[in-house]
């Protein structure tokens, strides 16, 4: 190794899915949240195994900073929708895993709102077969449904699903009513599995189209009030408090938290010792309801003393309003809510960035705003959006990587089936990306079947150079030629 930065010798010519026989990454910036260490270093992979992680010092480290090529453990997404079976026009397991690899992910947990719902082991087997057939080395884990058919009436086959290897239970897309949630928390608790709750009080969100507030008022969209999430979180926490008295292993995870009010309730419950955790999505961290009006500013830009802003007064409306790509549930919120999400991510209350990757075929989105399917793609843009936060000083690089790796790993525990970190002697499971480079989000650059994101056309920082999962190549950036 010399003092000048040597090129990153990537696995040129390797086929995707093949074992990475030989890979030398020299003079990159390593981020290892498992050991809490970041700095210049080399990583050597032989026959799929990390044979050396060398931290550089002194002259060898000169000129290497955290703004260039970064090596980190592969990302883990605990919340994605891969749509198979039932909606393969929007996404398949194969295209979803390809999107994940392009985004730097080596493990994806798919949600249970497939058709049929993932409420019994045969559906899980089908999804696993599709993953195997795809040839992707990205690990596919799955959450089972809480209720049979996600109908909210009877419990799904929780025990059988646990035996088959699901990593949690969720009726995501819809909330579980408190009476059933109580039973599910208790039953899943004895199985050692968490309930991932989509917190929404449906009596407060009937017909809702966008976050209730200034933007929805101006646009005449039916409001989704903050109280709809806060009330559901309060009810779930109250139920959890009851359940843990009998079943101490019960665990509640509130997914895609979007409001400061809900975050405060979760914070208080954790302080009281309750086993509750939460995650946040890239879009709730970085986008706000003014995107529905046509603004495209990040959530932290140009906010006033109250943490708020007015896109009409600021002349920030650069796109047409009512873009159905901005319709998501829970909705994009106010800048103050996004700030609360980022604060929760910084201080660790939110244990993970979860994408809530929600692919949709164009026919379900190219309709009137209020009739459009809800959700935003996330697997391929999460890193770029997260790096935008890091670039803006909203998040440290180390905490960002933590929330994409060991944070979600801590949620999965032993069910992840592997250790996370830059670990010598373990199968290589890592992502290499260039923070200096940027890429344009468009139809040609996305591996997902879906183009469902308001980020289309935008330049995002951080180009993934390679994703290696379980010692095998999941993604390699095309040669520049």
């Amino acid at each position: 190794m010399t003092a000048t930065r040597p090129p990153v010798a990537l696995a040129g010519g390797l086929e995707r899915g093949a074992v990475v026989a030989e890979l030398d990454i020299g003079g990159a910036w390593l981020v290892d949240p498992a050991s809490g260490r970041s700095g210049p270093g080399d990583v050597v992979v032989r026959d799929g195994i990390v044979t050396a992680v060398a931290w550089l010092e002194g002259e060898e480290a000169a000129g290497i900073d955290d703004r260039g090529v970064i090596v980190a453990p592969g990302f883990i997404d605990i919340h994605a929708h891969l749509r198979e079976p039932g909606d393969e026009d929007s996404e398949t397991v194969a295209s979803g895993l390809a999107a994940a690899a392009h985004g730097g992910y080596t493990t994806v947990c798919t949600m249970a709102n497939t058709d049929p719902a993932l409420d019994e082991p045969a559906v899980l087997a089908r999804i696993r077969d599709a993953a195997t057939a795809s040839g992707s080395p990205v690990a596919l884990l799955a959450h089972g449904a809480v209720s049979a058919g996600r109908a909210g009436e009877q419990l799904a086959a929780l025990g059988e699903l646990a035996d088959a290897g699901v990593v949690g239970f969720s009726d995501d897309g819809a909330p579980v009513r408190p009476a059933l949630l109580r039973n599910a928390l208790a039953y899943a608790g004895t199985l050692g599995l968490p309930i991932l709750e989509h917190a929404e009080d449906p009596t407060l969100t009937t017909g809702a189209e966008a976050n209730e507030g200034y933007v929805a008022t101006v646009l005449g969209l039916r409001g989704w009030p903050v109280a709809g999430e806060a009330a559901a979180v309060s009810a779930a926490i109250a139920v959890l408090a009851d359940v843990v008295a009998d079943v101490p292993t019960a665990r509640l995870h509130v997914t895609h938290v979007s409001t400061g009010a809900a975050i405060e309730r979760i914070r208080a419950a954790r302080a009281a010792g309750l086993p509750v955790s939460c995650d946040v999505t890239p879009h709730h961290l970085a986008m706000t309801d003014e995107w529905v009006a046509g603004a495209r500013r990040w959530a932290w830009e140009a906010v006033d003393g109250d943490g708020d802003r007015d896109p009409w007064a600021d002349r920030a409306l650069v796109a047409p309003p009512f873009d159905p790509a901005c319709r998501v549930n829970p909705p994009l919120r106010r800048p103050t809510d996004a700030a609360a999400c980022r604060a929760a991510l910084r201080d660790g209350l939110a244990i993970a960035i979860a994408t809530d990757h929600a692919p949709h075929h164009e026919v379900k989105k190219a309709v009137e705003f209020g009739l459009a399917a809800t959700g935003i793609d996330g697997l391929e843009t999460a890193l770029g959006v997260t790096l935008a936060m890091v670039d803006a000083g909203e998040l440290t690089l180390a905490r960002a990587i933590e929330a994409l790796t060991v944070g979600p790993a801590s949620f999965l525990g032993l069910r992840l089936g592997r250790r996370v970190g830059l670990l010598e002697g373990e199968p290589a499971d890592l992502v290499v990306f260039d923070r200096r480079a940027s890429w344009r989000v468009d139809g040609d650059s996305l591996a997902s079947r879906s183009r469902n994101t308001p980020l289309l056309g935008r330049e995002l920082p951080g180009v993934v150079l390679a994703t290696i999962a379980g010692g095998r190549l999941a993604y390699a950036a095309p040669d520049e030629g």
């Binding site: 007015d310 009409w312 309003p321 705003f369 209020g370 009739l371």
Partner: protein
């Protein structure tokens, strides 16, 4: 801090001196979807053009050839008589070819998508599309795929731009001095669900009116937030549930329709209670200035939001609103048609 001058500039623009002579600016809007994108000179341009159309309407044969050969399709997804007929009359007065389509409410699961419908209408030769839809934002979707001009005839709760302009036009015609600047204008009723109220916020604040929105708090939801943000940008208006405070010394009182479904949604106890507490009666109107005018965008529930004797009072200009609606819609069809490919800019160099 560096933003401050820009905000001040916007405020200045929206508070432009109303008495100033209208500036002849080129009309650059191909569509009319909402009033938020119109500058004060744009609005003045529409009003001046409407004056010319009013003259046309006063002729024995109220017809000019301005839109001859242009096919205008009127696509309404919601029941309407007043607005649909008003657009139809306006287009026919300009010699356009008019096609009327009453569509069933749009559905994702059955029937044709809005996008396909609009493409079909264009393939059938339409150059201008007037549409009404029960979903906020639907005309923006249409404008994305339609090659001609889209004119919003009302979308959900969002906007009813021709109504906002005809209301302003009607007020200017009746207020002494022909200006609404500084005049107290009260919009009374179901603000939450009203696209008329929203469009009037843009047009009346741009004109410098002292605008008050009044109704039960359940039907004002979200407007306090708009008033708070809007003030910073020069769009000042008041929001109150105190009907007496709102009506006191008002120059213009506009009542909005109360719909029965507001009761089933738990937003109001009963129509009877609404009429008693917020209905525009002769007694309440006595709080306003003696020469105040009374408006209603229609259709009216007489005896609920407006007493029958108020609706027919000499101070009522409700039928003028209907007549002016035709003039405003003629003006807009004319101005938008000028942006169509192959059309001359109306009022351009050739006209001077």
């Amino acid at each position: 801090m560096t933003e401050a001058p820009v905000v001040a500039e916007v405020a200045a623009a929206s508070q432009a001196p109303v008495e100033a002579a209208p500036v002849e600016v080129p009309w650059r809007h191909r569509h009319l979807l909402d009033l938020d994108v119109l500058t004060w000179p744009d609005i003045e341009r529409v009003l001046v053009t409407a004056d010319a159309m009013t003259e046309v309407l006063a002729r024995p044969i109220a017809k000019v050839p301005a839109l001859r050969g242009i096919s205008v399709t009127i696509l309404f997804y919601e029941a309407s008589t007043r607005t649909r007929v008003s657009f139809e009359v306006a287009a026919k007065n300009l010699s356009a070819d008019v096609v009327n389509i009453a569509a069933a409410s749009s559905s994702v699961t059955k029937g044709e998508s809005l996008v396909d419908t609009v493409r079909t209408i264009e393939a059938l030769g339409a150059r201008m599309l007037v549409m009404r839809h029960d979903r906020s934002g639907a005309p923006y979707l249409a404008a994305e795929v339609f090659g001609g001009s889209v004119l919003n005839g009302g979308d959900g709760w969002h906007a009813h731009p021709t109504q906002g302009l005809l209301d302003l036009y009607t007020m200017r015609a009746h207020l002494p001095g022909g200006s609404v600047a500084g005049r107290k204008v009260v919009i009374l009723g179901d603000i939450l669900h009203s696209r008329v109220a929203r469009s009037n916020v843009w047009s009346l604040t741009a004109a410098g009116a002292d605008l008050w929105l009044c109704g039960p708090s359940t039907l004002l939801r979200g407007f306090e937030a708009w008033a708070a943000r809007g003030a910073a940008a020069g769009r000042r208006f008041q929001v109150t549930s105190d009907v007496d405070a709102a009506l006191r010394d008002a120059d213009v009182v506009m009542a909005l329709r109360i719909q029965r479904e507001r009761m089933t949604g738990g937003l109001l106890p009963s129509l009877r209670e609404y009429a008693a507490r917020y209905g525009l009666t002769r007694e309440r109107l006595a709080l306003a200035r003696p020469e105040a005018i009374v408006m209603h965008p229609g259709p009216m529930n007489e005896g609920v939001e407006i007493a029958p004797d108020v609706a027919t009072d000499p101070r009522s200009v409700i039928t003028d609103q209907v007549t002016n609606g035709v003039a405003i819609r003629m003006a807009l069809l004319y101005l938008l048609a000028g942006t169509l490919p192959g059309r001359h800019e109306p009022g351009g160099a050739a006209g001077r």
